[in-house]
């Protein structure tokens, strides 16, 4: 699976949950400062990502460290490498 497909899935969560314009979703954007999300939104972000990837994320410590959208892309690239079954699921759902 290409990084582009992964980004597409992650960005869809941001568009659906937070009504953000897809055009502004670039890796350097900071989640709180630039995308104007807050702690309540982060709960919804985790729920959305859980739903998209089909894996439990509520207690994922690394997810708590994210600062930018790029951090999320990198983290999920790693998660997909660790869970090869996700690749098929995400490619199918594209």
């Amino acid at each position: 699976m290409t990084r582009e497909i992964l980004i597409e899935h992650i960005n869809k969560v941001f568009v659906d949950k937070f009504e953000l314009d897809p055009a502004i979703l670039t890796p350097e954007k900071r989640i709180f400062e630039d995308l104007e999300l807050d702690s309540l939104d982060i709960v919804d972000l985790v729920t959305g990502l859980q739903h998209t990837f089909g894996i439990p994320l509520r207690d994922n410590k690394e997810l708590l460290q994210i600062r930018t959208l790029g951090d999320i892309y990198n983290l999920f690239e790693k998660i997909v490498q660790e869970h090869p079954e996700l690749e098929e699921k995400l490619t199918k759902e594209q």
């Binding site: 807050d38 309540l40 939104d41 709960v43 729920t47």
Partner: protein, 409 residues
């Protein structure tokens, strides 16, 4: 000397218009908000004739509230937010004033959001509770309307929610009046909101209080004081009023629309499902006493009258005892339905238009008053008369009464 308290604006979200002027004109034109809701048939045990007076909000109006604020709003809070924004536009209050600590928000509803409460319950049933938004609870809690409005506008003064079902928003206005008399605030956004949902309709139906007479068209079912009344029609909406000290109004060069001269609230202490005529009389007397008025000085009584058999009878008995047949009496619920927790504020917003238009709106669907409601001056056509003093009642589950008296300025 007693502080004088005035109303300097009123924002409205209703099934018959998105301003108090639009709502008044729709009522004057005889339009009804009551319609069939076939989309709720399945949730209501297959009942094919579900009716409600629902607000239809265009998508762009919903989206006009920024997502950051909208995310914690159920329909009820959303209606209130739209009404609040209208009110800010009308009053011209600045951000500095709103965040001065001297402006508060007192607003309430019956249940926070029955729609969202049902959704949360279904999430438990469907084992998907943790798929819900983090804001779900904020949509449901009983003071959702108040904090959503305060948060959206940056209001940081008093925030209260006297949730008492159908008396909620009139109690909010009354509580605002009392807070201002105590000198706690200079201005309070006061009122309330409510929403209809199948669980609300079914709750009234369980109590045999929902109007369902098959012989009537949907718009004829709500018929306050009529001999053939058979129960209420649930409605929804919101209204927020700017309740302000006269001193503050003058200082900022604003124009008052009416003065609040009396208020009282009481309960029966004896019955949870309805009030009784004796306690309604007592409440109206307390409000008249607060205003320093005799009953004959009131020019119009805006009744709560929801079209239930017992409720209308008790209120009619109380009004007859105090006012006889001398004072015009009407209920707006024949066209607007019973907007529950919003009704006190929504109907008070209409009263402001009666002052400015010099017209008293009539009862609708009142073909022949029932025997127990006879002996009142129940008007059936718009009355071209400029009322000077209006008495407004709200009566609620819990045996709660509230009476507000306002005066034209």
């Amino acid at each position: 000397m007693k502080q004088r308290v005035v109303i300097t604006g009123a924002g409205v979200t209703s099934a018959l218009g998105f301003s108090r002027q639009e709502l008044f004109q729709a009522l004057l034109a005889g339009r009804s908000a009551v319609k069939l809701r076939p989309d709720w048939t399945e949730q209501m045990q297959g009942n094919p004739r579900v009716v409600a007076a629902s607000v239809e909000l265009p998508e762009e109006q919903i989206k006009s509230i920024k997502r950051h604020y909208r995310r914690s709003m159920g329909p009820s809070s959303l209606f209130a937010a739209l009404a609040a924004r209208q009110l800010i536009a009308e009053t011209g209050l600045t951000q500095e004033e709103l965040s001065s600590g001297r402006i508060g928000c007192i607003a309430s509803s019956t249940l926070g959001s029955p729609t969202e409460t049902y959704a949360a319950a279904m999430a438990i049933v469907n084992n998907s509770f943790y798929d819900q938004s983090a804001c779900q609870f904020f949509k449901i809690v009983s003071h959702s309307t108040a904090f959503n409005v305060a948060n959206m506008l940056g209001i940081n003064g008093v925030q209260l929610s006297p949730c008492s079902a159908c008396a909620s928003s009139l109690q909010s206005i009354g509580l605002a009046y009392e807070q201002l008399l105590l000198g706690r605030q200079d201005l309070i956004l006061a009122g309330g909101s409510d929403e209809v949902a199948p669980i609300v309709l079914e709750s009234f139906r369980l109590l045999h209080a929902l109007g369902e007479e098959p012989g009537f068209a949907p718009e004829e079912i709500s018929r306050p004081f009529d001999a053939k009344r058979c129960g209420l029609v649930c409605g929804e909406g919101a209204a927020l009023l700017a309740v302000e000290t006269l001193e503050h109004t003058i200082a900022r060069g604003a124009k008052p629309l009416a003065e609040i001269i009396g208020y009282a609230t009481s309960c029966t202490g004896a019955q949870i499902s309805q009030s009784d005529s004796a306690s309604i009389v007592r409440c109206m007397k307390l409000a008249l006493e607060d205003a320093g008025l005799a009953p004959q000085e009131v020019d119009y009584v805006s009744a709560h009258a929801t079209s239930t058999v017992a409720g209308d009878r008790e209120e009619a008995t109380a009004i007859r005892e105090l006012f006889g047949d001398a004072v015009p009496v009407s209920s707006l619920k024949g066209q607007l339905g019973h907007t529950l927790g919003a009704s006190g504020a929504l109907e008070t917003a209409v009263l402001l238009e009666m002052f400015s238009q010099g017209l008293i709106l009539p009862n609708t669907n009142l073909t022949a008053p029932s025997e127990e409601c006879a002996g009142l001056n129940l008007i059936r056509k718009p009355l071209e008369r400029s009322p000077n003093i209006i008495l407004k009642n709200c009566i609620a589950f819990g045996g709660v009464n509230a009476t507000l008296i306002i005066k034209k300025i």
